[in-house]
């Protein structure tokens, strides 16, 4: 098994720590808020306010479960449009009250269903991309597990994008890649490697800014060690970003995403 495939199987383990666990391990007094004020409350997206030490923050993340029951409640971590709209509502609230935003990403992708299409999955994701890019408060996005395509980037237009060692981020799943481009679902491992979806590869092409090592005994056996590192990094980075002039903050965020693309002109 190649390195990429190892990470794929690690992040998909059912005992992999989820967004709620990271929130509890990093923040104090988390108060959860529900609903998008338009249609429903999506269990696949968790959000609310909390303290990071003494700093009020808004936290939003995509939730996966550890049991079938939990997974049914959070739709296996695949948000519907109302999940992305809840996230945006809470981020706009953060902007109003000058709180920074921390997002946690862990999803195989946005949900593909009839209702999701009827309620505009595409519009919900698109709106988040645009509004996050100009949100007048700092945003840090952390990939703690799977990062599946449009459903992941919809919460990841941040000033800093971080990832745990075995996290991943790709335009589609390695299974999808193998079956669509090669019509051969047995070539999943090869696809995972080719797609350069691991934290190490993503650091190289600057899709992420920082990688956090995971404990050898497994993240689920020592979440506190990683949470402490994340907390330290969040405090450092957010206090710096909160000092920044808004126009500079937004310009830097713009350039962070503006730079992606490889092409020739001649």
């Amino acid at each position: 098994m190649n390195e990429a495939m190892k990470s794929v199987s690690i992040v998909r383990k059912i005992e992999r720590p989820n967004t709620r666990q990271f929130i509890d391990a990093i923040f104090n007094d988390f108060m959860e808020f529900h609903g998008d004020r338009l249609f429903a409350d999506d269990g696949a997206v968790v959000g609310g306010i909390a303290f990071l030490e003494k700093m009020p923050v808004t936290v939003v993340g995509i939730q996966k479960g550890h049991t079938l029951e939990e997974n049914v409640a959070c739709n296996f971590g695949s948000p519907n449009p109302e999940g992305y709209r809840k996230a945006l509502r809470l981020m706009k609230q953060a902007e109003k009250f000058h709180r920074p935003v921390v997002t946690f990403i862990n999803t195989a992708g946005a949900f593909c269903g009839i209702g999701a299409e009827e309620r505009g999955q595409g519009e919900a994701i698109a709106r988040n991309l645009l509004e996050m890019s100009r949100l007048k408060t700092p945003v840090i996005s952390i990939f703690i597990g799977e990062g599946g395509s449009g459903g992941a980037i919809a919460l990841a237009v941040g000033d800093a994008v971080w990832m745990l060692e075995h996290g991943m981020y790709s335009v589609l799943s390695p299974e999808g890649f193998a079956s669509i481009l090669w019509r051969d679902s047995s070539r999943v491992a090869e696809a995972a490697e080719l797609m350069k979806m691991t934290a190490k590869d993503l650091l190289k092409n600057e899709v992420i800014d920082r990688m956090f090592p995971e404990p050898k005994e497994g993240l689920e056996n020592n979440l506190d060690a990683v949470a402490a590192e994340l907390k330290k990094a969040l405090l450092e980075t957010l206090s710096k970003l909160m000092e920044e002039e808004t126009s500079l903050l937004l310009e830097n965020r713009y350039q962070r995403f503006r730079k992606f693309g490889e092409f020739v002109e001649s």
């Binding site: 946005a110 949900f111 593909c112 269903g113 009839i114 999701a116 299409e117 009827e118 309620r119 505009g120 999955q121 595409g122 519009e123 994701i125 698109a126 709106r127 991309l129 645009l130 509004e131 890019s133 100009r134 395509s149 449009g150 980037i153 919809a154 237009v157 981020y169 790709s170 335009v171 589609l172 890649f177 669509i180 481009l181 080719l194 797609m195 350069k196 979806m197 993503l202 092409n205 899709v207 965020r253 713009y254 995403f257 503006r258 992606f260 693309g261 490889e262 092409f263 020739v264 002109e265 001649s266």
Partner: protein
């Protein structure tokens, strides 16, 4: 019964430069065919149509289906004559993921579609009004969005912002360019943020959705228009129908993800017949004229 066996025909859905090269065997099996590319078959009503009956609007004379268009055909029916000036005409893709054979895939697509990449951008006048215009081409690797599509659309938007111009984007896309991996996903954020600045500047963006508009293009710029128009019956959605069926194991309702479905659910402002599009765009531009 196959009255038309053996002879060649071409389908408008498949990119018109690719006509009649399939083997005889395949042709017999696939669909009815008629001599010498003088006839075409409508994929919607299945009628065999005399090619000369199809006007520059590329509509089915039998059922009024809107066939897919190339950017050059689109320019001819949209822009005031002699006003089209192309931007970034020479931009070509690289191979960011070292995807095997990507160069050949690109070369084949360039020959088939007759353009260098999946979008053409420029400025022009429509009914006397200045605008920036971008048109995607579904004949180029399904109109997928990789670095070049993302960069050209972003530059067109930035050009519009700098010059205080509206932008009109004709979308048609199967989604992200998978061969460019994560970099193609990043294009969604890149175009969206450029549109955010165009929006902040108080300028007009009209999205015109054409068949098919799906995936990462729907989930970025297609759905961000101040005004969203669509051609009749265009397929518009986020997820592909086979993916949805594979997820929920249910039959999809009649007309699912078509323009009329999107209008009913509130995601499209107006469905406009292709013969009326130029006039409608001209009116919208005039209504938003500055100063």
């Amino acid at each position: 019964m196959n009255l038309f066996g053996k002879k060649s025909y071409f389908s408008l859905e498949g990119g018109e430069k690719e006509r009649t090269k399939r083997s005889d065997k395949k042709r017999q099996k696939a669909e009815p065919s008629i001599p010498d590319g003088m006839w075409i078959k409508c994929n919607t009503c299945k009628a065999i149509i005399y090619k000369k009956e199809v006007t520059e609007y590329k509509l089915c004379p039998n059922c009024d289906a809107h066939f897919r268009m190339s950017p050059s055909e689109r320019i001819a029916i949209t822009c005031d004559e002699g006003t089209w000036v192309e931007l970034d005409a020479k931009m070509r893709p690289k191979n960011p993921m070292n995807y095997p054979d990507y160069e050949q895939v690109i070369e084949k697509a360039q020959k088939k579609a007759g353009i260098l990449e999946g979008v053409v951008t420029g400025r022009c006048k429509i009914c006397g009004q200045d605008t920036v215009l971008a048109m995607m081409d579904s004949h180029f690797i399904m109109g997928s969005m990789g670095s070049v599509v993302g960069e050209k659309v972003t530059r067109a938007v930035e050009y519009a912002t700098e010059n205080r111009l509206p932008i009109i984007i004709f979308t048609t896309s199967g989604g992200a360019r998978m061969q460019e991996g994560i970099i193609s996903l990043m294009q969604m954020a890149k175009v969206a943020e450029a549109l955010g600045r165009h929006d902040e500047a108080g300028l007009l963006y009209v999205a015109v959705l054409t068949d098919p508009t799906t995936g990462g293009v729907t989930a970025s710029f297609a759905m961000l228009g101040d005004i969203i128009l669509s051609e009749p019956k265009a397929l518009i959605g986020f997820a592909g129908q086979r993916v949805i069926q594979g997820t929920i194991h249910q039959k999809l309702p009649e007309g699912f993800q078509r323009a009329e479905f999107q209008l009913e659910h509130g995601f499209v402002d107006r469905i406009v017949h292709r013969e009326k599009l130029r006039e409608e765009l001209g009116k919208i531009l005039l209504l938003h004229k500055e100063g």
